[in-house]
């Protein structure tokens, strides 16, 4: 039985830019109204009140009366005090892999990473973004590799997923740890949560980042694709390769240049300079490796152990990857630093 020890503690209260306003209004004026918001939903994950998404924007209906004014959203928002990151980061290993067990986008190495970490006993669940028949994302807690026979869990969706609110639930449920996959903005949000709250440092063990140029709001991309003649009931895969957005359906492909979709890119992506998810334990993407392979950038010891486990068990084929091939997209995203108005 735990004994009653001290029953007093202290919480650091962040500074307010608008002194007499609640914290959400501060967040709104600094991040959301300035179109800096990446819609990573770190704030929604931590908010004990009701931060949610309304019309593709992070919002808090009736925040004047309902905001508890705790400042947690401001503490965890990666864009409230924005430190843009770019490049590849310090990596231990740069390689290419193709999973022998799973089918996904390219080499399915992200799935392989999470499942192998689960088999190692490092984590007891992984968060995957699945989709419904209309390609709207929904989050899944995967606790067994058998669950991955649901084919909709793999593959890229090019629309936002509510990873972080689900991550908080996972952190509450988990016994040994959680593995999570995310775009660079989500990874930044996780790191910020970990920096502020020890519970996330303890429980989030593996963060796999995805290479990301930009993302789309579900309404925007679905209307856009429908206008291009994509039938969602037949759609099996979406992919961006060499500047082309390719929608593979059961009866053919619809291709167009990504630049055509420029107008519907989420506003937060215009100020994002991070292509490779620099803060992640390992990041994956198709750029930089041969067809059918995923490029894997291993940055931390945890991820190194996982990749060595995959090698030892022979769960994946490994090939060559070329960091130079990433330079163009890294540079392309680095230029977006100009859009940051502060």
């Amino acid at each position: 039985m735990k004994m009653v020890t001290e029953s007093e503690w202290e919480v650091n209260v962040p500074d307010k830019q608008l002194k007499d306003k609640v914290y959400f209004e501060n967040l709104k004026s600094v991040v959301i109204d300035t179109e800096m918001c990446s819609r990573c939903l770190t704030c929604a994950a931590i908010c004990p009140g009701g931060i949610t998404v309304v019309n593709n924007k992070v919002d808090f209906p009736d925040y004047e009366t309902k905001c508890l004014d705790c400042g947690a959203c401001v503490r965890v928002c990666p864009r409230f005090v924005y430190e843009p990151k770019s490049g590849l980061g310090d990596y231990i290993e740069f390689t290419a892999g193709r999973s022998k067990r799973f089918a996904g986008q390219d080499g399915a190495m992200v799935t392989e990473f999470i499942v192998s970490a689960m088999e190692m006993g490092l984590i007891d669940r992984g968060l995957f973004a699945g989709r419904d028949e209309n390609w709207a994302t929904e989050m899944f807690h995967v606790r067994d590799s058998e669950q991955l026979t649901i084919t909709t869990l793999g593959g890229t969706k090019y629309t936002f997923a509510d990873v972080l609110p689900e991550l908080k639930k996972a952190v509450m449920f988990t016994k040994s740890g959680v593995g999570v996959i995310g775009t660079p903005c989500i990874v930044s949000g996780i790191r910020k949560l970990q920096q502020e709250f020890p519970i996330f440092r303890e429980k989030v063990k593996l963060v796999v980042g995805l290479f990301c140029t930009e993302n789309f709001h579900y309404d925007d991309i679905s209307n856009f694709l429908k206008a291009k003649g994509v039938d969602f009931s037949k759609l099996v895969k979406t992919d961006i390769t060499k500047g082309k957005f390719i929608s593979t359906m059961t009866d053919g492909k619809v291709k167009f240049k990504v630049t055509e979709a420029e107008d519907i890119v989420a506003s937060g992506c215009n100020v994002c300079t991070d292509f490779t998810a620099v803060e992640s334990d390992a990041s994956c993407g198709s750029v930089g490796s041969a067809k059918g392979f995923s490029t894997v950038v291993v940055r931390t010891e945890v991820a190194k152990k996982v990749i060595e486990f995959i090698r030892a068990k022979g769960h994946a084929d490994f090939g060559d990857a070329d960091p130079a091939q990433l330079d163009f997209l890294i540079g392309h995203k680095k230029k977006r630093a100009e859009n940051i108005k502060r």
Binding site: V4, S7, E10, V13, D15, P48, A72, F197, I199
Partner: protein, 243 residues
Amino acid sequence: MKKVTVPEQSTVEKAVRHAAAIGVAVKESVYPLTATVQYPRQRKKMPDNFRGYILFDPEKCINCWECAFICPANAIRMKEAPNKKYYPTIDYGRCIFCHFCIDSCSGGALRATKIHDVAYKDMDEMLTLTEEMIEPPEIIREDKKLVEYQIDEKDLRLKKTREEDNLIVEKAPPPVEIQMVSQCIDRASCIGCHVCEHVCESGAISSSIANGVMRMKIDTDTCTGCGLCVKECSMQILTLVRK
């Protein structure tokens, strides 16, 4: 093989034995030694901690839902009252009279009675709404005598007294004394949202802000261990520990 025969008895002995038998018959007809309680004219005296019909006092309810959570028969449903609070309703069609709800009620809002004979016309009527739980239910009292079982040296006896038992227990038996108190197990993960402070009915949790630092405090003396803050904490870093 031995045959059992009637013992040899003298006439006097026989007469004495017959007289004794007649005596027992006369005694039983005048003052019968039966263990049966003649309900409803007689009513058995129930102990004060008898698990009967449950009464509810909304004034004492702290809205912790513990009764509904603990009910093993799922008989308790919470319903929203006009004052926006949620109060329990009991479906006596499901209730198994374990009184876990009463034992777990940290505000002391639920109370046991000795009433065990409420009649219902149909199953729907057995769903007892909060309003009906405040006052004891209407039951028809025909009992004239209060019966108590007594065990004397030889036999079980019924002690019958001409009085009406009070079925409402005025003073409940003292609850099992396990004093619990709320404690923060991961103080660094506190987001400082004060939800615990807002829900605390006893005012045991307080906070103060000075120089950009919020100080949270749980007063272990006033904390009743009701567990409301534990349920509401969004980071789930509060827990109940023994005092």
